[in-house]
C-alpha cells in the first residue's frame, strides 16, 4: 500500500507497467494456459478420497439377485411401450403396485417456444389447416432435409399412437383427425404432454422426512427399457428389506428431462419454467440424493458416469467417490466422459490421457446443459449423478445383476447418511475417475488470463491520463495528477452510443429469434426451428455491420476536439473492464465456461485497436467471437471423442446446438444463451467497434 500511496514510486511503477505491458500480458496469458495444462500432473491433481464418515468405513453386503426378473420386466415394458406408443402408465402403475410400492402419477404439459427437432418426441399439437408448404419438402437449405425426414416419421408415429392412447387423454388437447400429414402446417403450437409414474417405498418406523431417488428417464423410443426393468427389480428387492431409514422414490419420467423437470417442480411446488403439471399426491420429505440410470442393453461392458448438470453445477464429489468405490468392489469397468482412467501417472502417458478427459469435462461443463436427468436435480440441492450402461465390442460383459449390486450398495450407503452430502468438494475438475483438481488449484489459471485484461486496462487508463496531462499542461494545470472530471465526462458521453447500440443488438439477439419465428415462417420457406436458428445467425452477423457505422454521427462532434485516439481508448477501456468483470463472474460459478471464453476472447480483446494490420485483427476477432468459440468447441469435442467431424457435419451440429441452446434456456432455464446474447456478444461487439473506429 505504501508503494501505491507514494506518488514518486507510484509513477515509477506506472512507467514499468507501461513499458513492460506487452511482455507481461504475453507472460500472463502463457502462464494461464500452462497452469491449466499442468492441472493433470500429480502435484496439482490429487487422488479422490471419501470424506463423509457415514459412507466411508461402513461395509455393505449386496444381495441383489434379480437379474432375470429385471430382464423380464424390461421385456414387458418394451412390449407395452411399443404397443401403446407412449409410456405404458397403467402397466407401470400395476407393476409398481405389485412389487409393493405406493404408486402415484403426474401428468404434465409444456408448450415449447419452437419445435425441438433433434428429439422426435414432440408430436402433439393443435394442427391447423394444412398449409400450402407441403411441397417444400426437399427445398431450402442443405441441412434442412434430415429434419424434414424426421417430421415425416413423427406424423406416422403419431398415427400409430392415436389408436393406442387416444382413450387415455382426458381432453384439453385436440387430437389430429388426419394423420397423413407429411410436413408441419403453419401455426402448430408445440405442446408436449406426458405422464410421470413414481412409486414410494416407505421406510418402516420413519416419518418420511428424508428420501432418496432412483430415476429413469424415458424418451420416445423404447431405449432405456432395461433401466426400467432394473429399477423395478431393485424396487422389489428393496421392498423386502427392513433396514431403510429413508424413503426411496422410484421415478420413471416421460420425455426425458422434460418429465424430470416437471416432476421436480411439482415436488418442490414451484414453477420455474412455465410447466403445467398436476400437483403431486405423494411426497417423501427432503430428497437427499438421486441416481439416474440409463441402460439400453441386457449386458454392459462398462458404466459411464456423468456429473455435469444444469449451468455447470456439479454434485458433491463424495457421490462420485461412492460410485467409484462400488465400481472397484464389484470389479466393474467404469469410465468418465467415455474414457478409461489411466493407470500410470508417473510417465507422460497418464497425464496426457487425463488431459483429454479433463478437456472433455471442461467442454461439457461449459455447455451448461444437463448431461442426463441428474442435472436438473442439482438446482434443488439434491446431489445426483447419471449412470449410463455402455455396450461396446469389449469381450467381457457384465449382466444386470452386477449393475444392480452396484446400485444397491450405493443406495444402502446413502441410506446411512446422517446429513446431506456436504463434506467433500462441490467445485472440482476431473482428469480421471479417481483424480480431481480442487477449486483452489484451478482458479489461478483463469486468474492469469483475466490479469491480461487488467494489465491492458491499466495501460489504457494511464495512456489516457498522460494524454490528458499532455494536453492540459501547457495551459497551466494546478497539479500533475488530478483526475479531470470535465474531460472524463466528455469521454464517457462519446461511449454511450456504442454501448447502447451493442446492448440493443444483444437484446435483439435474445428476444427476436423466438418472437419472430412465425413471421419468418410465413415469409420464408423454413420451419420454426430453422427460422429461429437462421434469425439468430442473421442478427449475429448484422451486429458486425451495425455499430461501427453508427457511433460516428452521434459522437464525432464531441470527440473531434480531443486527441484522436482518446475515443477508441476510452471505449476499449470500458470494454476491457466489462469483459473482465463478466468473465470473472462466470469463472466463479462455472469455471469451465469462464476459462474457455477467456482463452479465446482475451488475446483478441487485448490486441484490438484501429491501427496496424486491421484485417488480421478482424479475422482474429471473428475467430474468437462467442459463436466461433462454440463451433470450435464442437470440433474439439468430437476430436477428443475420437470421432472427428467433417466441415459439413460440424456446421449441422453447430446449427443444432444453437437451437438446443435456445430451447434449453426456455425449457430448463439454462443460462448459456442469455449469457452469451446479453452479456458477451455486446461486449465482443464493443471490441469490433474499437477495431473499426474512425
Amino acid at each position: 500500500m505504501g508503494l501505491l500511496s507514494d506518488p514518486v514510486r507510484r509513477r515509477a511503477l506506472a512507467r514499468l507497467v507501461l513499458r513492460l505491458n506487452a511482455p507481461l500480458c504475453v507472460l500472463s496469458y502463457v502462464a494461464g494456459i500452462a497452469w491449466f495444462l499442468a492441472l493433470v500432473f500429480p502435484p496439482l491433481t490429487q487422488r479422490t478420497y471419501m470424506s463423509e464418515n457415514a459412507m466411508g468405513s461402513t461395509m455393505v453386503e449386496e444381495q441383489f439377485a434379480g437379474g432375470d426378473r429385471a430382464r423380464a420386466f424390461a421385456r414387458d415394458f418394451a412390449a407395452h411401450r411399443k404397443k401403446s406408443g407412449a409410456l405404458p402408465v397403467a402397466w407401470l402403475e400395476r407393476t409398481m403396485r405389485s412389487v409393493g410400492l405406493e404408486v402415484y402419477t403426474q401428468s404434465f404439459s409444456r408448450k415449447l417456444p419452437f419445435p425441438d427437432e433433434t428429439h422426435e418426441r414432440y408430436v402433439l399439437g393443435e394442427w391447423g389447416v394444412p398449409g400450402p408448404r407441403a411441397h417444400l419438402g426437399g427445398r431450402g437449405l442443405g441441412w434442412v432435409s434430415p429434419w424434414r425426414v424426421s417430421w415425416g416419421q413423427e406424423a406416422q408415429w403419431e398415427g400409430k399412437s392415436l389408436v393406442g392412447i387416444g382413450g387415455l387423454e382426458k381432453g384439453g388437447l385436440q387430437r389430429p383427425t388426419t394423420v397423413t400429414l407429411r410436413s408441419p402446417p403453419p401455426y402448430c403450437i408445440q405442446m408436449v404432454s406426458g405422464t410421470n409414474v413414481y412409486g414410494i417405498l416407505r421406510a418402516p418406523r420413519a416419518a418420511s422426512t428424508e428420501s432418496l431417488v432412483l430415476t429413469v428417464p424415458c424418451g420416445s423410443d423404447s431405449t432405456n427399457s432395461q433401466a426400467v426393468g432394473l429399477l423395478l427389480a431393485l424396487a422389489a428387492h428393496f421392498r423386502g428389506q427392513i433396514y431403510w431409514a429413508k424413503d426411496i422414490i422410484f421415478l420413471v419420467t416421460e420425455h426425458d428431462l422434460l418429465g424430470t423437470e416437471a416432476w421436480l417442480e411439482a415436488y418442490h411446488d414451484v414453477n420455474v419454467t412455465g410447466m403445467q403439471s398436476s400437483p403431486l399426491q405423494g411426497r417423501a420429505g427432503a430428497i437427499q440424493a438421486a441416481v439416474a440410470l440409463e441402460l439400453s442393453s441386457d449386458v454392459v461392458t462398462s458404466l459411464d458416469v456423468a456429473v455435469e448438470g444444469l449451468n455447470g453445477q456439479l454434485p458433491n464429489l463424495d457421490l462420485l467417490n461412492l460410485f467409484q468405490t462400488f465400481c472397484q468392489k464389484g470389479g466393474l469397468l467404469c469410465t468418465l466422459q467415455g474414457k478409461l482412467q489411466p493407470q500410470d501417472w508417473t510417465s507422460l502417458d497418464g497425464p496426457l490421457q487425463g488431459l483429454q478427459t479433463l478437456l472433455l469435462m471442461v467442454l461439457r461443463q461449459a455447455s451448461g446443459r444437463p448431461h442426463g436427468s441428474h442435472g436438473l436435480f442439482l438446482r434443488y440441492r439434491v446431489e445426483a449423478l447419471t449412470l449410463r450402461g455402455i455396450n461396446s465390442f469389449r469381450q467381457y460383459k457384465y449382466d444386470l445383476v452386477a449393475v444392480g449390486k452396484a446400485l444397491e450398495g450405493m443406495f444402502r450407503k446413502l441410506n446411512h447418511l446422517l446429513e446431506r452430502l456436504h463434506q467433500s468438494f462441490f467445485l472440482y475438475l476431473l482428469p480421471a475417475l479417481s483424480r480431481f483438481v480442487s477449486i483452489g488449484l484451478y482458479m489461478p489459471a483463469a486468474g492469469f488470463l483475466l490479469l491480461v485484461l487488467g494489465l491492458k486496462a491499466l495501460e489504457l487508463w494511464m495512456q489516457l491520463h498522460e494524454a490528458e496531462v499532455g494536453v492540459e499542461e501547457p495551459g497551466g494545470a494546478p497539479g500533475p495528477s488530478v483526475p479531470l472530471p470535465p474531460s472524463q465526462g466528455v469521454g464517457l458521453a462519446s461511449l454511450v452510443a456504442p454501448l447502447l447500440i451493442s446492448q440493443a443488438m444483444g437484446l435483439a439477439l435474445y428476444v427476436l429469434p423466438v418472437l419472430g419465428q412465425h413471421v419468418a415462417t410465413q415469409h420464408f420457406p423454413v420451419a420454426e426451428a430453422e427460422a429461429v436458428v437462421l434469425t439468430l445467425l442473421a442478427i449475429y452477423a448484422a451486429g458486425l455491420a451495425l455499430p461501427h457505422n453508427t457511433h460516428r454521427p452521434l459522437s464525432c462532434r464531441v470527440v473531434s476536439t480531443q486527441a484522436p485516439d482518446r475515443g477508441w481508448m476510452a471505449l476499449k477501456l470500458v470494454a476491457l473492464i466489462y469483459l473482465a468483470l463478466q468473465l470473472g463472474c462466470i469463472a466463479l460459478t462455472n469455471f469451465s465456461l469462464g476459462f474457455l471464453l477467456a482463452t479465446t476472447m482475451v488475446p483478441a480483446a487485448a490486441l484490438a485497436k484501429p491501427h496496424g494490420p486491421r484485417t488480421l485483427y478482424a479475422a482474429l476477432l471473428v475467430l474468437t467471437s462467442p459463436a466461433a468459440t462454440l463451433l470450435g468447441s464442437l470440433f474439439l469435442w468430437r476430436e477428443l471423442q475420437e470421432a472427428p467431424l467433417s466441415l459439413a457435419e460440424g456446421w449441422q451440429l453447430f446449427l443444432a446446438a444453437l437451437a438446443q441452446g435456445v430451447l434449453e434456456h426456455h425449457t430448463y432455464g439454462a443460462l448459456l444463451f442469455p449469457l452469451l446474447s446479453l452479456g458477451l456478444y455486446p461486449c465482443w461487439l464493443l471490441f469490433w467497434n474499437v477495431l473499426f473506429w474512425k
Binding site: 500500500m1 409393493g100 416407505r202 422426512t209 440441492r381 446431506r420 463434506q423 488530478v482
Partner: protein, 441 residues
C-alpha cells in the same frame, strides 16, 4: 417425556397403594383382547389390550401374550405402547375405589413383507406363534378380526377357522363387523391344540382396502434455495356431502421467519377465509410462532394452507452438531369433529369390547379426531463447519485490511509537496525576503 410420565405415576402408585389399603381386595378380572384390522394403506394393524385391576397379579403366561415376541414386533412398520391407570369404583355407591391398569400395544405389520407379496395374513405369519390356550387368570380372552366388506358384493374375504359369532359396531363413523374368537370357549382350542387365525382375500385386493378416512392431511416445504421457502399443508376432506370445521395448530420455530401476509388458504380454487385466527409472533431464541386457525373444509375437497417464510441465519454456536441434516419443524396438529356416516349408539363401557375405549365418541352424529401431519426437515443457511473457523476469520481479516487500504487509496488525491530543505536558514531567508517585498523562495 410422554413415556416418562406414566412410568413415574406408576412407581408412585406402586408405593402408595400398599400403604393405604391392606384389606384383601376382591379378585378382579383380567380382560385381554387382540384386534386385527386392515389399514387403508394395505397394511394390517394389531392391537393388544390387557386390562386388569391394579391389585391383581400381573404375570401372565398363556393367552394372548404368547404372541408378544420381540423380534417379530420390531420387524414391523410401527408400534406404540401405552399404559393407562385410572381409579374405578368398587361398588355402586363408590365407597372405595380400586385402580385399573390398562396396557395397550399397537403394531402395524407390513402386510406386503409378511404376506410374501400378498395381503393375506395369518397369526403364525405375523407373530411366528399361534394361540394355544387362554390365560388361566383371564375372565375374558378374545380375538376380534375386522371382516367388514367394503365392496358391495358379499364374500370378498374369508377367515379360517370360521368364527362362531360376530360383533357389529360403529367405529369412527362407519359400521364395522368383527369376527370374535373366544379363547375361553374350549371348543375353539381343543380342535387342533392351537388356533391360527388366517385371512384370505378371494380376489386380488385392489379395491378391497378400507376407504381412506374422511380427514387426512399432508405437509411439505416448497421452494428451493436457502433464502426463502413455503410451508404448505394440504387438508383433505373426502366426505361426500358434509363440510366440517378443522382447527389447525402450527408451531413454527423462530428461525423460520413467517410472513403472515402471505398466508393463503384455498379450497376448490377459491379463497377460504378462516373463521378464527390466532397468531402469536415468534421472539428470537425465546418462543416459536404460534398460528391457530379454524378452517371450514368444504365437502369432497382439498384445502391448501400455505405460508411463506425466510430462513434466518443462526449464530454459529446455535447450530446443532449435524447442521447439514436440517432442522425439524414440528407437525401441524389438526383437531376436528368429523361427521359420521352411521349414527353411533352410546356405549356401555363395561360391556362393550375393550377397543371401544380407543375411539372416543363425542355424540352420535360425529366423532373427534386429532391428526398430526408429518414433521418437516428444513435446511438453513449453514456455514461450512468442516472448514475451521479460524480460516474464515483470517480470510475476513485479510479482506477487511485490503478493502480499507484500497478504499483509502481510491478516495484520496495525492499532492507532491516539496521537501523542506534548509529548514531554519530558509525560513530566515524568507523572512528577509518578505521584509524586502520579494516573493519567498
Amino acid at each position: 417425556m410422554a413415556a416418562a410420565m406414566p412410568l413415574a405415576l406408576l412407581v408412585l402408585l406402586l408405593l402408595g397403594r400398599r400403604g393405604w389399603c391392606l384389606a384383601e381386595p376382591p379378585r378382579d378380572s383380567l380382560r385381554e383382547e387382540l384386534v386385527i384390522t386392515p389399514l387403508p394403506s394395505g397394511d394390517v394393524a394389531a392391537t393388544f389390550q390387557f386390562r386388569t385391576r391394579w391389585d391383581s397379579e400381573l404375570q401372565r403366561e398363556g393367552g394372548l401374550s404368547v404372541l408378544l415376541k420381540a423380534d417379530r414386533l420390531f420387524h414391523t412398520s410401527y408400534h406404540s405402547q401405552a399404559v393407562h391407570i385410572r381409579p374405578v369404583c368398587r361398588n355402586a355407591r363408590c365407597t372405595s375405589i380400586s385402580w385399573e391398569l390398562r396396557q395397550t400395544l399397537s403394531v402395524v405389520f407390513d402386510a406386503f413383507i409378511t404376506g410374501q407379496g400378498k395381503k393375506d395374513w395369518s397369526l403364525f405369519r405375523m407373530f411366528s406363534r399361534t394361540l394355544t390356550e387362554p390365560c388361566p387368570l383371564a375372565s375374558e380372552s378374545r380375538v376380534y378380526v375386522d371382516i367388514t366388506n367394503y365392496n358391495q358384493d358379499n364374500e370378498t374375504l374369508e377367515v379360517n377357522p370360521p368364527p362362531t359369532t360376530t360383533y357389529q359396531d360403529v367405529i369412527l363413523g362407519t359400521r364395522k363387523i368383527y369376527a370374535i374368537y373366544d379363547l375361553l370357549d374350549t371348543a375353539m382350542i381343543n380342535n387342533s391344540r392351537n388356533l391360527n387365525i388366517q385371512l384370505k382375500w378371494k380376489r386380488p385386493p385392489e379395491n378391497e382396502a378400507p376407504p381412506v378416512p374422511f380427514l387426512h392431511a399432508q405437509r411439505y416445504v416448497s421452494g428451493y434455495g436457502l433464502q426463502k421457502g413455503e410451508l404448505s399443508t394440504l387438508l383433505y376432506n373426502t366426505h361426500p356431502y358434509r363440510a366440517f370445521p378443522v382447527l389447525l395448530l402450527d408451531t413454527v420455530p423462530w428461525y423460520l421467519r413467517l410472513y403472515v401476509h402471505t398466508l393463503t388458504i384455498t379450497s376448490k380454487g377459491k379463497e377460504n377465509k378462516p373463521s378464527y385466527i390466532h397468531y402469536q409472533p415468534a421472539q428470537d431464541r425465546l418462543q416459536p410462532h404460534l398460528l391457530e386457525m379454524l378452517i371450514q373444509l368444504p365437502a369432497n375437497s382439498v384445502t391448501k394452507v400455505s405460508i411463506q417464510f425466510e430462513r434466518a441465519l443462526l449464530k454459529w454456536t446455535e447450530y446443532t452438531p449435524d447442521p447439514n441434516h436440517g432442522f425439524y419443524v414440528s407437525p401441524s396438529v389438526l383437531s376436528a369433529l368429523v361427521p359420521s356416516v352411521v349414527a353411533a349408539k352410546p356405549v356401555d363401557w363395561e360391556e362393550s369390547p375393550l377397543f371401544n375405549s380407543l375411539f372416543p365418541v363425542s355424540d352420535g352424529s360425529n366423532y373427534f379426531v386429532r391428526l398430526y401431519t408429518e414433521p418437516l426437515l428444513v435446511n438453513l443457511p449453514t456455514p461450512d463447519f468442516s472448514m475451521p473457523y479460524n480460516v474464515i476469520c483470517l480470510t475476513c481479516t485479510v479482506v477487511a485490511v485490503c478493502y480499507g487500504s484500497f478504499y483509502n487509496l481510491l478516495t484520496r488525491t495525492f499532492h507532491i509537496e516539496e521537501p523542506r530543505t534548509g529548514g531554519l536558514a530558509k525560513r530566515l531567508a524568507n523572512l528577509i525576503r518578505r521584509a524586502r517585498g520579494v516573493p519567498p523562495l
